[in-house]
């Protein structure tokens, strides 16, 4: 058993950290998030040059032959630096779905462009209050007389939905919400008629969109997979692992910054970390971070070996959410007034954790699946 990153992965993490520390400090990041585009093509190109976009994909599509371990190694660092560029949305989610689709569809072409950084992909899957179980999808895909499909429905919080050249969409060919069967996966190009994209910035500074399909027509070859329930479930699991890695990265950053602040900040003539009430909160933050990171690394190793069950993914989702909140709320409280300002990274790190908690089923949903032994 070995739960450490390889030397190669560690080198990559170090160089990404160094680059982000230098060129993606908090002020630079805030300027990028506040720009019209909301993320930086230059940063994106640099991440591509460093091999991050290609890391987890097979060599046939231009990838570097890495795995979920590379995704986690990378996204933990991206989370600590609050990266707003479309790594999770385009590479992990859309790229993951395209890579999982069977050969002989348009998926390979899109995937090569995503891997090369020439196209942005988005994964349009979640609906209503969240869609952790693909069987819940209600969006429909009807066959058209022309032999293609017409999609109708609404997808929520599609990361980089307005930036995307291609949307990878889950939609029902048959059956009703709740049925595992009849779920299809489609590639829908930007600008397709019947597509309404409502863009926004998420609380944690990512660009995203609600996407409405009103008989949005696509050609027959846009169907990437006809019975896609299990495929979508794997993509959701992969997305949960990457979001958890980002959250754990943010937790580590919060812990470090809060410990440093409490050691330096003096009140009543002494550092506030010398007060037991504060010291114990710091201790609980460290315990929470260690637990969350242990579960992240263990689950990653399970996923790498193809042994991560839905139960394991639910544990990771729950722990990243609950322990992340413990750390986030403690970080704000320990920083006091300045922890409430927009001017420190603290609140932004907390918001990134909250955003991952809400995606692909909240804590309540996953807790109940664990408690019910599902």
């Amino acid at each position: 058993m070995d739960f450490t990153f390889s030397d190669e992965q560690t080198l990559m993490r170090d160089s990404v950290s160094r680059y982000l520390q230098r060129d993606y400090g908090f002020d630079a990041r805030q300027a990028i998030v506040g720009s019209a585009k909301g993320w930086s093509s230059d940063v994106w190109a640099r991440l591509g040059e460093m091999g991050l976009l290609a890391a987890p994909f097979p060599e046939e599509v231009g990838g570097l032959g890495g795995s979920i371990v590379d995704v986690v190694a990378i996204t933990e660092v991206l989370g600590a630096h609050l990266v707003a560029e479309p790594y999770i949305g385009s590479v992990v989610m859309a790229g993951g779905a395209l890579a999982a689709a069977p050969d002989g569809t348009v998926s390979a072409g899109w995937l090569e462009r995503v891997v090369a950084g020439e196209a942005i992909g988005a994964f349009a899957h979640e609906e209503g209050p969240g869609t952790p179980d693909p069987a819940l999808v209600a969006t429909r895909a009807e066959r058209t007389a022309a032999g293609g499909f017409a999609l109708t429905g609404e997808k929520k919080v599609v990361l980089h939905g307005a930036d995307a050249d291609v949307l990878v969409v889950s939609a029902r060919l048959a059956g009703e919400p709740g049925d595992a069967g009849g779920l299809g996966l489609f590639a829908v190009e930007r600008g397709t008629a019947g597509l309404t994209v409502t863009p926004f910035t998420t609380v944690d500074g990512r660009r995203a969109a609600h996407v409405r399909f009103e008989r949005a027509e696509v050609a027959a070859d846009a169907l990437l997979a006809p019975e896609a329930h299990d495929l979508v479930q794997r993509v959701v699991a992969r997305s949960i692992v990457a979001l958890a890695a980002e959250a754990v990265g943010a937790m580590g950053e919060l812990l470090g910054r809060t410990a440093e602040y409490a050691s330096a900040r003096e009140q009543f003539g002494v550092p506030i970390a010398s007060f037991q009430a504060v010291a114990h909160r710091l201790a609980d933050m460290k315990v929470a971070h260690i637990k969350a990171r242990a579960t992240l690394l263990y689950t990653t190793a399970l996923a790498e070996a193809g042994r991560a069950r839905p139960h394991d993914i639910a544990v990771l989702k729950v722990q990243a959410g609950r322990l992340g909140r413990t750390i986030g709320e403690s970080a704000i409280q320990t920083h006091g007034g300045v922890g409430m300002t927009d001017e420190l990274p603290i609140g932004h790190l907390v918001k990134r954790i909250l955003a991952s908690e809400a995606m692909f089923g909240g804590t309540e949903y996953h807790l109940r699946t664990l408690g019910a032994g599902l």
Partner: protein, 400 residues
């Protein structure tokens, strides 16, 4: 990253399970079902240790040179895991996990030769004389004194929370040998060959769970040989700190916690909910159990990272973090146990809990142990350094 266990581990697991399925007597299994504490019923735990010793497995973590099996850390985890799955009573910790490893590290050759084989074989049981009525978390302020006189020390004072002193035949203790300088500098660590020296008196203390697990020990001009000293005179504090590492340190708690959760789940499936169906269908119960499942899983992941040699185990806060997590999980599990059994937890089943008792238990397996387990587990956040002290230690590693 690689989660696959080493190739031989499944062969090893088969060997372990074959033994654990066949070796324990019915009384030992009964003692396992009736364990409501970190300390299993004394007689059966010692009998079980002798059986394990005959197989060479009484002390999985002991090095081979002292009679341990010489297992890898992964093998030790597999053993602990299969052991817990069967609900077998844990071996008593004081001798095997505390004074034994301490003597290996810093005992004299004579002390090692005299005591280690008897500890391993289950012939001796050592009680721990640390706390005093006036010295708990602030242990260094202890005052039970030992004055050198010829080849002996003469001890006066008292010790408290000496677990199972009334069943033990030996005792390790901290005494004050000097009042000069810092209070940590006048402490000496002693081994007592007997607990019935003239002038020694042991008073069992009945706990919240109705069991006399703890004791108070009084010393009135008790004369013991100086040869029982470990380390130098007045250097007992560093000896004690060394031992504490063994007391709080790495082990495999999560398999036992998983087993308790399975027990709760089974009982909930048999318990009608006032809202219809069983308690297992109740959303509030599912949420609570889900939180415990997730936290026990994280503890398992933490333990497995540690046994695999991940840097997390080299963190100076590691023993304290381990103690915090496992003690607080034990308590939370005990709370859910009492809530699941509800009214069935109220009968005082003290008699039925004794191994070999003729008194039939009322209610199911969980109803028998839930309340005493809950009450006893309040101690987990107090002993081996309160959790407040552990949090202080963890926080210290974060100070810039």
């Amino acid at each position: 990253m690689d989660i696959e266990p080493d190739a031989d581990i499944e062969k090893f697991r088969a060997e372990v399970t074959e033994f654990l399925d066949t070796a324990p007597t019915p009384e030992i299994r009964e003692a396992g079902r009736k364990t409501t504490s970190a300390f299993a019923p004394f007689e059966q735990a010692m009998a079980w240790q002798k059986i394990l010793h005959a197989r060479g497995w009484a002390a999985p973590s002991w090095p081979a040179e002292y009679g341990g099996p010489g297992w890898s850390i992964e093998q030790q985890y597999v053993f602990a895991s299969e052991y817990q799955k069967r609900g077998l009573p844990p071996l008593l910790p004081n001798s095997l996990r505390m004074v034994g490893p301490l003597l290996m590290d810093i005992g004299t050759p004579e002390q090692k030769a005299t005591y280690l084989p008897r500890i391993l074989a289950g012939e001796d049981y050592w009680t721990q004389g640390y706390s005093e009525p006036g010295a708990g978390s602030d242990l260094a302020s202890l005052s039970c004194s030992a004055v050198a006189d010829g080849d002996d020390y003469v001890i006066n004072g008292s010790k408290i929370w000496t677990t199972l002193a009334h069943k033990a035949n030996r005792m390790f203790m901290l005494v004050r040998t000097s009042r000069e300088g810092k209070k940590q500098q006048g402490i000496t660590f002693l081994l007592l060959d007997r607990v019935d020296y003239p002038g020694m008196q042991i008073r069992p203390i009945v706990g919240l769970d109705g069991e006399p697990e703890q004791c108070e020990v009084f010393f009135d001009d008790v004369r013991v040989p100086q040869s029982g000293r470990v380390g130098a005179e007045n250097d007992g504090w560093s000896v004690a700190k060394h031992l504490l590492k063994h007391e709080r340190g790495g082990s495999a708690h999560s398999p036992a916690l998983h087993e308790r959760i399975r027990m709760i789940r089974r009982a909930a499936g048999d318990t009608p909910s006032p809202f219809g169906g069983t308690l297992a269908d109740d959303p509030v119960f599912q949420r609570d159990l889900g939180e415990l499942e997730a936290d026990v899983a994280s503890h398992e992941h933490f333990e497995k990272l540690a046994i695999s040699g991940h840097p997390v185990s080299q963190d100076p806060a590691y023993p304290s973090i381990n103690k915090l997590i496992s003690s607080e999980l034990t308590q939370r599990i005990s709370v859910l146990m009492t809530r699941v059994v509800g009214l069935d937890g109220l009968p005082d089943q003290h008699d039925a809990l004794h191994v070999g008792s003729d008194t039939a238990p009322l209610g199911g397996d969980l109803a028998l142990i839930a309340m005493p387990f809950y009450l006893n587990s309040r101690a987990t956040t107090i002993y081996a350094g309160t959790n407040e002290v552990q949090r202080d230690l963890v926080a210290r590693t974060l100070r810039a």
